[in-house]
């Protein structure tokens, strides 16, 4: 579906000699392809020779597979449809000024669904590790690792979108939330802190200073102070001095009663105090403490030197902003992100994920959606994201592209679900929200479902009558009636015939049963 996606070009060979040179295919159901060998052309003079009909001919059904159909990820589908439906009803019922609260809540629900799946997958991975001697195939472990990766990326993007676009409580002052975002997604310093503090002599642990730097860069100043207090020279002047600076760093609170101007003044005052102490040589005895102070002064060179502690450009960007521009707003992020990428240029390759995050920093919603589509192989994430964004901007009434884009994505996702053997019911729940095209697709999908038993037929009829698709009900009843007739079950055939309200069919069946009775 997406030609620019490199992974789409995988080749599958059908292990059947009959197919050589004669393979033919036809689209079947919604999204699968039926493959079969063409009949050989036999010459008229060669009728007696061995014909292909004597060898068994097999047909192959090719279905698109996706990480979403795996046992773990499948739960995401049903959980998210619940959140999706409740979002639609909550938005229509809420008053306009409550919209944001509703959207933030639903966004967090989506995030917790992804996090729950991450947790499940992690538990399964650990259980598999413990059972390695059972001879589990390595591919399941690989699949789980890939799934973890995908889930991590989705959660990262979703949380960034939440704080940039959806959660407007902080009135545009993003730094605190960005810092929290980084803290949540880069927990390695938290872990190292635990390791370092538990060791016998923390200050001699090789990771000691790195952990301190890491905590400072993530804004976890209390953690940094805790680790520093474990140093044997913690009572000396330089240490006390740095402790004081760390303690006194101002953080902006939106409802703290302090205006932006006041806060900026305080912050400048604090930073100039840091610079003063540095110049006066308070930390001349320890180059480590000097480095910490330089970070606090917002010295770009020092921060860049510690790039290996930060892994990614967005971490670098947030750490830089923390110490250079605490009143950052959304429109600053575009420049800041470009800047961070430039500084980190030699250390990393720009991936598709980075494109998504960059687009978010540029506040370009369409680009975010488009980049997401490039990254993911199925529309699950993109669909729900677009739905959230659509509701966020809908009441502003300015956007022309988002509504049809959302509908298109929902239809796409629903079509993919409808082609799955067991998720067709979920597909119908989505199609209810896709306008007239959704209704049309729903009818088509319902009529093409394989009916395996009476209860399955009743469920299809139930879904069709809820949506007032009379044609589908009639059609299903006719199919069941015809089937019953061919099995000689005339009572059932008449019953289905009556349901179908098809007079001609019912009378035909009645006639058959009368003939049988004769």
């Amino acid at each position: 579906m997406d030609p620019s996606n490199d992974t789409a070009q995988t080749w599958q060979t059908i292990p059947d000699s009959m197919m050589n040179g004669r393979m033919c295919g036809k689209t079947f159901s919604l999204g699968s392809i039926m493959l079969f060998p063409q009949q050989e052309h036999t010459n008229y003079t060669d009728m007696a020779s061995e014909s292909g009909a004597q060898r068994t001919v097999k047909m192959y059904q090719l279905e698109p597979s996706s990480w979403l159909w795996g046992r773990q990820a499948r739960k995401l589908i049903n959980e998210s449809v619940g959140t999706f439906l409740s979002l639609q009803t909550a938005i229509t019922e809420a008053e306009p000024d409550r919209h944001n609260a509703v959207l933030v809540k639903k966004c967090r629900e989506y995030r917790s669904i992804i996090q729950a799946c991450q947790q499940d997958t992690k538990n399964l991975q650990q259980a598999n590790e413990n059972e390695k001697q059972n001879g589990k195939e390595p591919s399941t472990q690989e699949d789980l690792i890939i799934l973890q990766d995908i889930l991590y990326k989705m959660e990262l993007i979703l949380s960034l979108v939440e704080l940039l676009f959806i959660d407007t409580m902080s009135d545009g002052h993003l730094l605190n939330q960005l810092v929290k975002w980084i803290q949540l997604h880069f927990p390695q310093h938290e872990r190292k802190k635990g390791v370092v503090l538990e060791s016998d002599r923390p200050h001699l642990h090789p990771d000691y200073w790195n952990t301190v730097y890491g905590s400072v860069l993530q804004g976890k100043l209390d953690d940094a102070r805790l680790i520093l207090s474990n140093h044997p020279s913690a009572d000396t002047d330089p240490f006390l001095s740095i402790d004081e600076l760390l303690r006194k760093m101002p953080f902006f609170q939106v409802y703290g009663g302090v205006s932006v101007g006041d806060f900026e003044a305080r912050w400048q005052h604090w930073q100039s105090e840091c610079e003063r102490r540095l110049e006066e040589g308070h930390f001349a005895s320890s180059h480590n403490l000097q480095a910490i102070c330089k970070i606090l002064c917002g010295d770009l060179e020092t921060i860049s030197k510690l790039m290996n502690l930060m892994d990614t450009w967005y971490h670098l960007m947030v750490s830089t902003l923390l110490f250079t521009k605490p009143t950052v707003k959304l429109f600053h992020l575009s420049n800041a992100s470009q800047d961070a990428i430039l500084r980190m240029q030699d250390q990393q390759v720009i991936t598709a994920l980075d494109h998504v995050l960059l687009a978010a920093m540029e506040a370009d919603m369409y680009q975010v959606i488009k980049e997401c589509q490039q990254v993911m192989d199925n529309p699950w994430f993109t669909t729900h994201l677009t739905d959230l964004l659509y509701h966020t901007v809908q009441h502003k009434g300015k956007h022309q592209v988002l509504p049809p884009l959302r509908e298109y994505l929902l239809l796409d996702y629903a079509e993919m679900l409808a082609g799955h053997s067991s998720l067709w019911q979920v597909a119908l729940l989505y199609l209810d929200h896709c306008g007239p095209r959704g209704m049309a697709m729903a009818q088509e999908a319902l009529q093409r479902l394989p009916i395996t038993s009476d209860s399955c037929a009743q469920k299809i009829i139930q879904m069709a009558s809820e949506r007032e698709f009379e044609g589908v009900v009639v059609s299903v009843c006719r199919v069941m009636g015809r089937r019953a007739l061919s099995q000689g079950r005339l009572g059932a055939a008449i019953w289905w015939g009556m349901r179908s309200k098809d007079a001609a069919f019912t009378s035909h069946v009645a006639h058959q049963s009368w003939k049988k009775k004769k």
Partner: protein, 355 residues
């Protein structure tokens, strides 16, 4: 009736949930089975609900051919599973918590052209009754390889539900809405009952735990009918319950003035007739019998007027296929690929019952 509500997604559509019978008559049970449908790899799974209000935990599972249409316990450790391939299998809980297959009867139900799904099972002592879409009632003895009796229906209609009224009497319901009572000691049916003139299919039957003549039937048009078997001309009452076919009906085994139904409209309803419980003037020696479920509360005038206290305790966007209630906990499985565990239902009532 406050209670805890848990929902756990399992990644497969759940067609049947069944509590394992408790070890003692008034004890609790924490293990239940689930059966799935509409999946290329259907399974029968064992789950345990922990003491605290946590999600149920899967213990083990066994793959199953075809959709699971019904599960019924024969003894505390062994149970029967009916399949959409027309076969019935007997399994047992092993000591380690796994499941073992003990016996299987394939092709118990079949059309002339192929396999027919088995739709429902019922057990009484050592006899298992199975009905299917081919219209046959088959009696199976768990120790024998071949079915003991095969009773054909006439008319070629699917049978949807079966239950034992007494040890030798079986009630079946068909797609045409006929309730038929079979006497297994004789070789012919005892009576035939008509549900309603509109030929509304009866999808599920449930027997009152203590009053054997009282049967609740869930219909395909969403109605709940209460039958008094002593007066079989017409149902005692028909109440409009759901907006779609009723999938399962069940009386609470210990507090039978509470009835639960679930349907394809995604609702699970709790019918509470205890408010209209009053001393029955038919009881022996005119004694007042207020507790323990008044003898005829379901057949009283209040219920016939539809004056029961009905609450919707669960709402799902997709059909709820099955429910089972034991003690104070109710489990339900739905096409939403979720298992629901509702705890502390009827708490006050159950506490009253302990004596």
């Amino acid at each position: 009736m406050a209670g805890s509500k848990l929902r756990r997604y399992v990644g497969q559509k759940v067609s049947v949930v069944r509590w394992r019978p408790p070890a003692t008559h008034y004890g609790d049970t924490d293990t239940f089975l689930t059966g799935t449908w509409n999946d290329p790899e259907n399974t029968v799974g064992v789950w345990r609900t922990p003491e605290s209000d946590d999600d149920p935990v899967p213990i083990s599972s066994l793959p199953h051919q075809g959709d699971v249409s019904d599960i019924q316990y024969v003894t505390r450790d062994s149970f029967m599973v009916g399949s959409s391939t027309g076969g019935v299998r007997l399994y047992r809980h092993s000591a380690e918590g796994d499941l073992e297959a003990v016996n299987c009867w394939d092709k118990v139900h079949a059309f002339t052209t192929g396999p027919a799904p088995c739709t429902s099972l019922a057990c009484s002592g050592e006899q298992i009754a199975s009905v299917g879409e081919d219209g046959k009632l088959v009696i199976i003895n768990p120790n024998q390889k071949k079915p003991a009796r095969v009773l054909e229906g006439v008319g070629g209609c699917s049978l949807y539900a079966v239950m034992f009224v007494r040890t030798h009497e079986v009630l079946t319901s068909s797609m045409q809405g006929h309730l038929k009572l079979w006497d297994l000691r004789a070789s012919q049916t005892a009576k035939g009952l008509l549900f309603s003139p509109d030929q509304v299919a009866v999808c599920n039957l449930a027997g009152h735990p203590t009053q054997q003549h009282l049967v609740a039937a869930g219909g395909e048009d969403g109605t709940l009918a209460l039958w008094d078997m002593r007066n079989t001309a017409h149902p005692f009452t028909i109440i409009a319950a759901h907006n779609g076919p009723v999938c399962q009906v069940q009386f609470h085994p210990v507090a039978p003035e509470h009835l639960f139904t679930c349907g394809m409209d995604g609702q699970l309803l709790h019918w509470d007739a205890s408010a209209s419980a009053k001393p029955s003037h038919l009881s022996y020696k005119g004694t007042q019998d207020l507790s323990g479920g008044s003898v005829t509360v379901w057949l009283g005038s209040e219920v016939s007027r539809g004056a029961t206290d009905t609450t919707c305790i669960l709402q799902s966007p997709l059909p709820i296929n099955s429910l089972d209630v034991e003690g104070a906990t109710l489990i339900a499985g739905s096409d939403n690929e979720a298992i629901y565990v509702l705890g502390q239902l009827l708490k006050k009532r159950i506490d009253d019952m302990v004596y």
